[in-house]
């Protein structure tokens, strides 16, 4: 699949540099390299989920246990997780690092992704979740580091959108 290995590597290296030790994920095309990297890393526990909202619980548990975690999901997975985000993570003031593949946005060709793509940013904004867009592998580590800092100082979720520019390479 034409998913960018270098973009994925930049994201994974940044998570490693920040001592992320639990990664929850529900497979999706743009996340294949990231999930494989976590799977092959003996220092990271990869938790493959049945449904994304479970990942909120796992990250809340990990935080209460003093362990840094990250959630890998598609934007539809974020939409699926909202009750857990609001009524568990936000209610209990627990930081979440959410890495959300930005499907259905500019450049999308799959019609079935487009409805979610139109709503993702508005929903993040409605929930008052601070959001950044990851586009350039050169700035990814800096952006993820700032996101973790803010999540942990504000005790709130932070979302990083994995954009098409970062994650997708059109076949040549």
């Amino acid at each position: 699949v034409p998913v960018s290995a270098s973009g994925s590597r930049a994201v994974y290296d940044a998570l490693k540099a920040l001592d992320v030790r639990i990664v929850s994920a529900l497979p999706e095309t743009w996340l294949v390299h990231l999930i494989r990297m976590a799977e092959e890393d003996p220092d990271v526990s990869l938790v493959r989920l049945a449904k994304e909202e479970e990942g909120v619980g796992i990250s809340v548990g990990a935080h209460l246990a003093g362990v840094r975690s990250a959630m890998l999901m598609q934007n539809h997975g974020f939409l699926q997780s909202i009750n857990g985000i609001v009524s568990l993570a936000m209610l209990y003031r627990v930081p979440l690092l959410m890495l959300i593949s930005d499907r259905g946005h500019l450049g999308e060709r799959d019609p079935w992704q487009t409805e979610g793509g139109r709503h993702t940013r508005r929903v993040l904004d409605a929930l008052n979740i601070v959001t950044d867009e990851l586009r350039d592998p050169a700035t990814v580590e800096h952006q993820i580091r700032r996101a973790v800092s803010l999540a942990e100082s504000s005790l709130a979720p932070v979302a990083l959108l994995l954009t098409r520019d970062l994650m997708w390479q059109e076949p040549t």
Partner: protein, 189 residues
């Protein structure tokens, strides 16, 4: 079987463990037995207590974690049972009290009142050690075996649907959250 009697019977084993309880009657019954800093009462986010327990158990393999769950909550996150089974942390015990109702919000019957069998569901999800019990002695025996067997274990206990006299807890949920996280840090080996 009263759930409060089950909790009282295993309270000595809970004292030294990390406990995640669901909201409502179960939380208040545990609290009334004697709150401890290592008890977390998850007052919302229904269904996710088992996922929170999984996150703690994976993050801190040195801690013994007990999740006290209910039929309504498990029915909301049945897929999560397959995730528990897949990673099967040996330091996690999942207790499901099945009173066949959503007691704390009006007592409406859940699907377990109509035949859904959560012990069978847990087995079917791939959890190797599952006990279904319907007596107090059976529960205590199953729980003691579950916490000492060094494997992910699930105990499903059929209990009466009984409301507690009060839901009042003199412990704000944020106070509970910060105290709990501090207790887990302190117990770091």
């Amino acid at each position: 079987v009263r759930r409060s009697d089950c909790l009282a019977a295993i309270y000595p084993e809970l004292e030294s463990r990390v406990v995640v309880s669901i909201m409502g009657s179960l939380a208040i019954e545990l609290y009334e037995l004697g709150h401890r800093p290592n008890f977390f009462y998850q007052q919302h986010g229904m269904g996710l207590a088992s996922s929170v327990g999984l996150g703690i158990a994976l993050g801190r393999p040195d801690l013994d974690v007990v999740v006290l769950d209910g039929d309504g909550s498990v029915l909301m996150n049945m897929g999560g049972l397959t995730t528990l089974a897949r990673y099967a942390p040996p330091n996690l015990t999942h207790v499901i009290f099945d009173n066949e109702s959503l007691l704390s919000v009006g007592g409406f019957p859940t699907a377990t009142s109509a035949g859904a069998d959560l012990a069978a569901v847990a087995r079917g999800a791939g959890i190797a050690r599952v006990d279904g019990v319907d007596t107090l002695d059976g529960f205590v025996e199953a729980f003691r075996s579950a916490v000492s067997d060094g494997a992910l274990s699930t105990v499903v206990a059929k209990v009466e649907a009984m409301l507690p006299p009060t839901f009042h807890m003199d412990l704000h949920l944020l106070e509970n959250r910060f105290e709990f996280a501090r207790a887990l840090r302190r117990d770091a080996r």
